[in-house]
């Protein structure tokens, strides 16, 4: 066991070092003694023998050193010694050390947090079995009929269906609670590969409309509402006034389709109800590719299935229906919107870390220049160039280690705060500091250091010119960040100046929900809405109540396929799609939507009256550019009632500030009374309250007194709704600005340090110049000129870098291009100005030098 013996020797060399040293000393001493004894026996005198032995032995220390080298553990001993020395030397200059560690900690901490977030949201595997085989269908293909047919036809993948975010009311201990639920097909649990932790998932038979109703709870709901009682299985729960059997509980961490999903209900297939099957609730497909099936091959199959499903619709579907259905990986589709934002921020935090490293490298360089004398002494005493480099490297390692440790502790705090600042993103609440992100940050720091600090120190004479180069480098990265932040800032500005078409200030929007019996018929529904309205008007402060099917700018789709008079379509051609708003007569006045032609609704436009419709200005221009639209008619594709156009309203952005999706052809408003939300399931409508501001609890209370099952939620001013609709971009812009501000701060500190140091080095030169008659202003000018040159060169390089980097921001911008000239001027302008400000102090100091003093000190 040769290797075992060798390892044993190595271990003894490390841990039994002192013993080995003693053995070595006594071994050599023994040899000398024996040799001496021999010489003495040959008749030499004591001093002669001693001298002969010494001569023979030569340098005993060097020999002992050679013996030690045989142990092959020198590197470790040297490393410990170097590290100890580095720590001692760093502690000798606490100011420098604190500044360096704090800068590195800031850079590393911020970087680790953004990297961890990007990793946690974008890269970390989803908590399902073999998540790389889960697929979604983008564009098209949805609904109970299409998805259940897809499920039975597909051979290459196992498709399930689900409808996310369905609010339901559960009754527990006499209290009504709104919870978010999802409906799902019986095979969803199988497709995701996650079985319930308690009880069972749905059975195939439970999808049928008249089978007994069942429900599966989330782990969170089970623990919070039912005290984690295992006997919950088999109990009944009242959901939307109907009893449901609890059959299972999902494991903790199961968050499909969203973390807020409190319970899952089976879909209800009722083949007799054609509307529900083919145009009803949007059942979304999710599939698992079968073993050995590739994405393209499943996509090919999907195309064929789409052609087989299209003729199954009870009405003629356009030939293009489903043709753009694309199979994508679920893991990618889930984070499609989060990706550009997180990548942009991760990139920015990466630049910040490099700037921080550059700053510390600059500090180190200054230290090298100051220690030139010390290094010269060391070299004279026999330290090789390599030995000195190793010493500097050890100092850097200690700094990186301290900075990384401090940065990691900062990131552990920040990682909890960042989700609050980032807003709505999928998987954000699961984000923790990822070891891989911490390793990446550490690697970046080491690499940057290797290039930035050891390289210049390796030169014979460290020069402050290199620190100018470093300053330019830092400033160029800072410029790139500033430009990025300016672009996002400009985007916010552009978004803020968008005219939504809503001109009203004192108005609140909210959702009202109620049990399913409230709107089961037109009469009941109309009566119910009137009662709620009158109750609300009775609340002090409210002087107007209007209803609609949705709140503008919440990105909730509300579209209707229609036939338009004068614009016939060939059979099979896709129908026109209009944004559909049902509104009470007060709606237009409350939201401040102007009338362009004709009239708005009145109380006379009720159910049973002439079916009427109001269209938007651009819709009128699109369909009837040269004539009055008043008196023309529009009909929903799925019905046969023609509505007469009675008015034209100003354009309103109902979908989002970016405008409508491309497939929307126009906007129509129909009287709420002629399209009441009659349904056998739970009631939900949007209400607009004209008031200056009101207590939500008071509102809730006055409603509850009369209607125990009614809940009013999400009370928000329309300005608040608008602000929330751009919160994603706003948080990105703020975070980017924060990173840019930190970078600017670090960059400017770097410039200040460099210029101060150079001014200090040039004291003798300045003294001579002044003695020869240079005016103080000229001396200050030299420093300022240097700052301006560094700033301008840095900006120029930064602009080029930004041109390459800002394409990461493209999807986050609005109303400007990624080469927006204002941003490209603003970023460098801020930078050069701050660089000049940073130079002001060293310039002032240089210009106030007393030449006599300087020359005398030479």
């Amino acid at each position: 066991m040769l290797w075992l013996r060798r390892i044993g020797m190595r271990v003894r060399s490390i841990f039994g070092r002192h013993k080995l040293e003693a053995a070595l000393d006594s071994e050599l001493a023994f040899h000398m003694a024996e040799q001496k004894a021999e010489y003495l026996s040959r008749g030499m005198s004591e001093p002669e023998a001693e001298r002969a032995v010494r001569l023979e032995f030569g340098n005993v220390t060097a020999m002992a050193e050679q013996c030690r080298d045989q142990r092959r553990t020198r590197w470790l001993e040297d490393l410990t010694a170097d590290t100890k020395y580095a720590i001692r030397s760093l502690l000798h200059s606490p100011g420098f050390t604190w500044a360096a560690v704090a800068t590195l900690a800031l850079g590393a901490g911020v970087n680790v947090v953004f990297f961890s977030t990007a990793y946690g949201v974008l890269l970390r595997p989803l908590p399902y079995r073999e998540p790389d085989r889960l697929v979604e269908i983008e564009l098209g293909m949805g609904g109970v009929g299409p998805v259940t047919n897809l499920r039975s036809m597909a051979q290459r993948a196992d498709y399930a269906g689900y409808s996310p975010k369905i609010e339901k009311t559960i009754r527990q201990n006499g209290e009504a609670l709104r919870v978010e639920t999802a409906t799902a097909t019986w095979n969803l649990s199988r497709v995701l590969g996650v079985p319930p932790s308690l009880g069972r998932w749905f059975e195939p038979g439970e999808e049928h409309a008249n089978s007994p109703r069942t429900v599966v709870l989330s782990d969170h709901t089970w623990r919070e509402r039912f005290a984690a009682d295992p006997a919950i299985i088999g109990r009944q729960l009242l959901i939307d006034e109907e009893p449901h059997d609890v059959v299972g509980v999902m494991p903790p961490g199961f968050a499909f389709p969203s973390r807020e999903t409190a319970m899952w209900l089976p879909i209800r297939i009722d083949p007799a109800n054609r509307a529900l099957m083919w145009s009803g609730p949007n059942l979304l497909p999710i599939g698992r590719l079968n073993q050995g099936v590739s994405l393209p091959s499943a996509q090919t199959e999907l195309r064929l299935i789409v052609d087989r499903v299209r003729p199954l619709f009870p009405w003629r579907m356009p030939d293009v229906w489903g043709t753009s259905s694309t199979l994508v990986l679920h893991s990618q589709a889930l984070v499609k919107d989060a990706r550009p934002k997180l990548l942009a921020l991760a990139m920015a935090s990466f630049l910040l870390l490099i700037i921080a490293c550059g700053n510390v490298a600059n500090l180190l360089l200054t230290r090298c220049v100051l220690r030139a004398r010390e290094f010269a002494v060391r070299e004279a005493l026999g330290a090789g160039r390599g030995r000195l480099l190793r010493m500097i490297a050890a100092e850097n390692m200690v700094l990186v280690a301290a900075g990384a440790a401090a940065g990691l502790s900062i990131s552990l705090v920040l990682v909890k705060a960042l989700p609050l600042a980032l807003g709505q993103l999928p998987r954000l609440d699961e984000v923790t500091v990822a070891p891989v992100a911490a390793a990446a940050a550490g690697g970046i720091m080491l690499l940057t250091f290797a290039v930035l600090s050891v390289a210049p120190a390796a030169r014979r004479r460290p020069s402050s010119r290199f620190s100018l180069v470093l300053a330019v480098f830092q400033l160029s990265l800072t410029t790139a960040l500033l430009i990025g932040a300016s672009l996002l800032g400009r985007t916010l500005w552009q978004l803020a100046s968008v005219d939504t078409g809503i001109h009203s200030h004192e108005i609140l929007a909210a959702s009202v929900s109620a049990g399913p019996s409230r709107c089961s018929s037109v009469e009941r529904c109309v009566a119910f809405l009137e009662e709620v309205s009158s109750t609300l008007v009775g609340v002090p402060g409210i002087h107007g109540v209007s209803w609609s099917n949705g709140i503008p700018l919440t990105q909730k789709h509300s579209a209707m396929s229609v036939a338009v008079q004068d614009h016939p379509k060939e059979p099979g051609e896709p129908a026109f799609v209009l944004w559909h708003v049902a509104a009470t007569p007060g709606y237009f006045g409350a939201l401040g939507i102007p009338l362009r032609a004709g009239r708005f609704f009145t109380a006379a436009d009720r159910a049973g009256g002439l079916p009427v419709v109001v269209i938007s200005e651009s819709t009128a221009k699109k369909f009837w550019p040269n004539e009055s639209p008043i008196g023309k008619s529009i009909r929903p594709v799925s019905g046969n009632v023609w509505r007469t156009v009675i008015g034209v309203a100003g354009d309103v952005m109902h979908y989002s500030l970016d405008g409508y999706p491309s497939w929307i052809d126009g906007v129509q408003y129909v009287p709420h009374a002629q399209a009441p939300p009659v349904s056998s399931s739970a009631f939900q409508q949007s209400v607009f309250l004209e008031c200056a501001g009101i207590d939500a609890a008071l509102l809730q209370q006055s409603l509850r007194q009369r209607f125990p099952d009614v809940a009013i939620t999400g009370l928000k001013s329309l300005q608040g709704v608008r602000a929330a609709s751009v919160s994603n971009r706003r948080s990105t812009a703020w975070l980017m600005s924060l990173l840019a501000a930190l970078a600017l701060f670090l960059g400017i500190v770097g410039v200040y340090g460099t210029l101060s140091q150079r001014a200090e080095q040039r004291r003798p030169e300045v003294g001579i110049r002044m003695a020869l008659g240079a005016r103080p202003i000229e001396i200050g000018g030299v420093v300022l000129r240097e700052a301006a040159v560094v700033g301008l060169v840095g900006s120029a390089i930064g602009v080029v870098a930004a041109l390459g980097l800002t394409r990461f921001l493209r999807t986050l911008l609005f109303g400007i291009s990624e080469t927006d000239p204002i941003a490209y001027v603003a970023g460098p302008a801020i930078l050069v100005t701050t660089a000049l400000l940073a130079a002001a102090l060293p310039a002032l100091r240089a210009s106030r030098l007393d030449p006599a003093k300087v020359l005398r000190s030479e």
């Binding site: 040769l2 050599l28 023994f30 040899h31 340098n59 013996c67 045989q70 142990r71």
Partner: protein
């Protein structure tokens, strides 16, 4: 400082292994014995001997123990390990091949 270049490169290891194979022996005695056995031709310098001993020990070919000499002093005695025996045979073989080859060249020219 004496270097091992006094001896043909690599032969010092062979000489030490051979000497040690005769029984546990300390450093001074190894040097002495090589000197005697070579009729005072081969003088092993201490500066080469001890690094070589330590190297061989760390390679696992010889092992050491501390014990008293006949004169009552404490010394480090080296002896051959099992792997050392194999190594010695290998080096002996190599040496014979090398010296034979050199002999052939020298005789014929």
């Amino acid at each position: 400082m004496a270097k091992s270049s006094d001896l043909i490169q690599g032969t010092l290891d062979l000489l030490i292994l051979k000497t040690v194979s005769l029984g546990p022996v300390h450093g001074w005695a190894i040097a002495k014995r090589i000197q005697q056995m070579s009729n005072e031709v081969l003088l092993v310098q201490q500066g080469s001997l001890y690094p070589a001993l330590h190297r061989l020990e760390h390679q696992g070919w010889i092992q050491s123990e501390t014990r008293e000499t006949e004169s009552g002093r404490v010394a480090k005695f080296y002896s051959l390990t099992r792997d050392g025996k194999k190594q010695l045979e290998k080096e002996l073989g190599q040496w014979e091949r090398l010296s034979g080859a050199i002999g052939l060249v020298v005789k014929h020219s």
